[in-house]
Structures are given as C-alpha cells and as structure tokens.
Point group: C2
Chain length 345, copies 2
Amino acid sequence: MRAAGRVSISDVAADAGVSISTVSAALNDVGSARISPRTRDRIREVAGRLGYVPNGLAQGLRRQRSGMVGFIGDEVATTPYAVGMILGAQETLRAAGILMVLMNSQGDPALEAREIEALRQQRVEGILYASMYHRRLEPPAALRDMATVLLDAESRVPEVSWVVPDEVAGARAAVGELLAHGHRRIGFLNNDEDIPAARLRLRGFRAAMKQAGVAVDPALVGGAPPTTSGGYDAARRMLQRADRPTALFCFSDLMAMGVYQAARELGLDVPADVSIVGYDNMPHVADGLLPGLTTVELPHYEMGAWAAGQLLALISAEPGQARHVRLRGQLVRRGSVAVPRPIGG
Amino acid sequence: MRAAGRVSISDVAADAGVSISTVSAALNDVGSARISPRTRDRIREVAGRLGYVPNGLAQGLRRQRSGMVGFIGDEVATTPYAVGMILGAQETLRAAGILMVLMNSQGDPALEAREIEALRQQRVEGILYASMYHRRLEPPAALRDMATVLLDAESRVPEVSWVVPDEVAGARAAVGELLAHGHRRIGFLNNDEDIPAARLRLRGFRAAMKQAGVAVDPALVGGAPPTTSGGYDAARRMLQRADRPTALFCFSDLMAMGVYQAARELGLDVPADVSIVGYDNMPHVADGLLPGLTTVELPHYEMGAWAAGQLLALISAEPGQARHVRLRGQLVRRGSVAVPRPIGG
DNA sequence: ACGTTTTGCTAAAACGTTTCGGCACCCTTC
DNA sequence: GAAGGGTGCCGAAACGTTTTAGCAAAACGT
C-alpha cells in the first residue's frame, strides 16, 4: 500500500547516469539549460520506466508555490447549487494545473478560522470564498492578506473581487418572455426576505414592464417565503381574484412548483390558463415538473469559472486588479409559457 | 497580497534567542525533548506575536505525510447527491486534520488518469473514489498501489473497501410503512434499468410483502425510467385499473413526483386515495411536494463519513483491512401515507 | 596551433521543517 | 572533590526539489 511515489529524482539520475540537476532540467524543459537530445530522451525513458512522479511538496517548497487554492463555502455544500460553482471553479483551475482544496464552515466563524489556518499552513495561493445565495458579505479578517475572490456575494470594500448573478437582467428576460407571448396581466411572486436578489429582480420586473408600456398592478406583486408552500399560498390568493393574472413570474422554481399545485387545484391548466416562469433552473425540479418549467438559470458554473480565473490573475499579477462582475443567466424555455387565452373563455 | 506566512521557524528562533530545533520541539510538544516551561512559553509567545504558521509543505516533505487525501467523483459533482458525500467525508477528515482535494473526472478515463497523477504528485495519502449512484465498478489501475475507498459503489475485487446504501433494508422500511397503515394492494414502480439498486429494492419489496403474508400481484410491479415523466406514465396506467393499488412505492422521488401529477389528474387525492412512498429524500423535491413525500433517505452523508474513516484506518494501519459496508437510510415520514379508504367509497 | 565560443553537464545552496545524537551545565551523592 | 545522573539546549543531517554559477571538453575562427 505504501509504495506510491517511492522513486525520487536521484533514483532517476543514478539510473540514467547523470546528475539530478540534469534530470530536473530535462524533465522541466528548462530553456536556459543545454542538454543533448540523446541525454534528454534517455532521462525521459528512465523516468517513465521507473514510474517517477515528482514530489509536489518538495517542488512547492522550493518554488514557493504550492499549486493549490482553497474553496471555502459557508453552508454552501449543503445545497445543490454548490456543485455548479465548485465544478466551474475546478475546471478552470485544472486547466492551470492547480488543485482545489475544499472546506465548508457551516457558518461557524470559529471553525472557519481554523480552516483558513489549515489552508494557510498548506500555503494555498488563494481563496475562493463562496456564498450559497446572492448576498452582501465581508470576507473574514483572516483573509485580509490573501488573494481572495468572492463567489455569489458582493463586498462593500472595493479591493476585493466578486462575481454575482445579474438579477436585473434575469428578471427582465423572464418577464420579457411572458410579454413576448402577449401577456399583459403579469403577476410577480417575490421572495419576502430583504436580500439583493429580491430587490433586484423586482427592479428587473418593473423595468421590463415599463419598457413594454404595461402598467404594474400593485395587487399582482406579492411577497412570500421562497418555498413550495410559500408559492402555493400566494398563488391561491392571486389566482382566485376576478382579475387574476394570466401569467406568474416566480422568485424561485420552488415557488413555481407550489404555483403548479395551486393552479391544478383551482382547475387552471398550465400553461393554457396560466403561464409560469421560475428562477434558478433547479436541477430535477424545473425539468421534473409537468409541463417543464420555463425558468432563468443561475449561472453557477460560469460564476465558479470566472472566480477561479480572476483568482489566478490575482495570484500571478502583482498589481492585483480587483474586479466586480454580474453574470447573466440564460432563460431556459420549457413548456410552462403559452399565449394567454381570454379569462373565462 | 503576498504577505501570507512569510515568517519561518528561524525567524521565531532568532526572536526568541533559541535554536530552531528548540522552537520545533516546543511548538510540537515533543515528549522526548526537555524544554523548560519558561522557554516554551517564550517561544509560544513569540510565535503568536510574529504570526508564525508552520509550512505544511516542508512538514509534509520531512514527515513523509502530506496530510491530504483526494476525492474523485465520476460525474458525481453534477448531482445534488454529491454534496452529502463530500460533506460527510470532509467532516471526518477535518477532525483528523486532513485536507481534502476535490477532483471530478466527468467519466473521462484520460482526464481521470491525469487527475490521479496530479494527486499522486501532491502525495495525497489516499483516495476516496465516489460514484454518483449505487453501482458495480472497479477503481482504475492507477489507484492499485494507493489506499482507496469506494463510495456508493461495490467492487468485485475483495481487497478494496467500499460502502453502499442498504437497498434491501430501505425498500423493506418503505413497504413496511405502507403495510403498517393497513395497505394490502401495494404497487411498486421500479427503475427499469439493470442496476443493483433496482434489483435489491425489488428484493426488499418482495421480502416485506412476504413477511406480512401479502401476495404480490405481478400486475402491480412495473418498471419505468426513474424520471418524473417515467413515474407519471406508469402511474397513469396503474391507477386507472379497476383493481388499482391503494399505495405506490416508487424507486425514486422523481418518479413519485410524477405519480402526484398523475393522481391529481385522475381525481385521486394524495394520500387519502393513494398513498405514496419515494426513495432518495431528494432535497427540495421530497420536502417540496404537497403533501410532503414520505421517502427513504439515501445515507450519503453517512457513507461519506464512513468512507473517510475507513480511509484513515487504511492509511495508518499497515495491515490495511478491507471492509465492505451497506448503510441503512432512515425512513423520512411526511404526509404522503395514510390509512387506505375503500376504493370507490 | 592557439585563443574564443559553444555545448553539455555538475556541484552546491536553498526552500522550511523534524529528529537524532551530543554537549555543557547543575545537582546529588558518597 | 570526584563520579554519576538529570536537565536544557544545540548542530547537523535529511526530506526532494530548483536554480545559479561554473567547469571541462569540444567546436570554431584565424
């Protein structure tokens, strides 16, 4: 079991009959070093035959670069969203030959501090600090002197880079889809918490309506908990009105799922009687509903990839330009939007 | 930006007026070394004041232990299931002071080989090799000489440790719940793929029925794709029979979601007319449905934790006992099971 | 044939730890 | 007052690399 990587550079050197410096230069293709092609090939052959794998710890120690970055999630790893961000980040880092060490703090500051200490000890070159939902947040003091990028969170301090979804554009796309189908009485079931996503999607909703010249009926804008039953309750209220909306834009796919239930109970067909657009493109929910839910994707993968790219830039470039980005998510069209039919028709 | 961890053990030694050996011994509480309490305290104080963080790479090099393990997922990171396993593993490793490096191979063997190489280079002490769904699978040859534990997969070769869910027990628990409520005509909507989970859950279904002395009607056992629409289609067929079942056990929560839809369309109430039990306890699906779905949890977190523990054992113990475990998942009771009422009543 | 350049390689230092053996010194003990 | 044992610390080697400076031999120019 403990045989892995037992052969060191000096074994290769001995077998090839050269010095370890030569082996190092040959294997690393050092431009400044002059090595005859024959020697180089011999070294390569020996290294391959012996199964030589350079010791990353020794390399890291000597080069003063560990080749690793840390990924810290608050409670992030408990949510399906985490995977997209992790995947995107990991993909980008892999291309750069960097490994990713995963941590999650469960929202416990003391634990988080210990984790940062462990990462610092392993000399990670930077930190991806991820939130599970779009919010405002300041990275802990322990990260002050490390290259850090915030994922799905915005910071007040301008020196730290971050990436979040473009909520306004997402909401505009969603409402635009409904408007394009001819809907005019469009309701918005917002999240009733005071978070950036709620504020910004409302702004996008209003902007889209205004641009289309459609007045917003305040009675059709409601807040509820962003859960299935939150959506269910709100939808029951809204869909029983005489002047009910022909379409509903929901803050989340979960709320939309509740809307489906409510609609069915009220004898309303989706999408014939009421069109629905969700938000999140939650795996197995948005595509699991019948009919499939048209929704706005949260660009988790892209945010992860962008954050990793920015982190790599911070690590290599000394000036360390902080950047702040809002990434658009695609509208994913499925079967929950149709042309409205006259109410009571 | 690049200030992190600049201070080394020799800085501490110089400031404290002792040798680096003494600093090392003092900070590591080496039993064999004799250091006066006063000196030790002084060293501690200096280390704290200077913000000394030992260099993990140098430690790893010298101790011949990197303090890291790798986690390789096939396509695992794309699924919500991954997070539970990752979390469980990470938690256990954290307690042992071990970091976890995350990789995912997307099912591409060439990529996987490169990733293993990278992990080997960083001298990880072992590998957690995770599958996204319970299946048979052999770890790649490149892992032959490394401490490896399979997660959510069984291997044919007895030397490799693995952990999978106890599917038979899970199915028995699910069907037992229905039987306990008085159901006798119980249908099973199985996955029509030929995978261990399908075979074993069918076995569990039969075993539970047999134990209760209830004959299995073959017409009530069906296979379908484990998706929402798969469940929907199968349920429509089965629930329109004159001798329809009063309860349905579904291979997955997604299928159960389709069953909800079908039942509602057929004017059947859940759970009054038809009781439903799912499998997976899929986040935001099982608890998002109305009524909440009673289902069997897949013990992802526990499997991750067990695998990490076993890996730690393999790493430390030279004999390296391979172990194979089937972990039970809890039955999670929500609102989708009730006492049956007479059909047509 | 003799300096000069180029080629092909090596020695040694350095990265930051841990650990082993040993060296002073002090305190007992007789 | 010398032998003996404990106490408190230190020096140096080793872990496996990379990199810089430099050296011998070969090739080149005249």
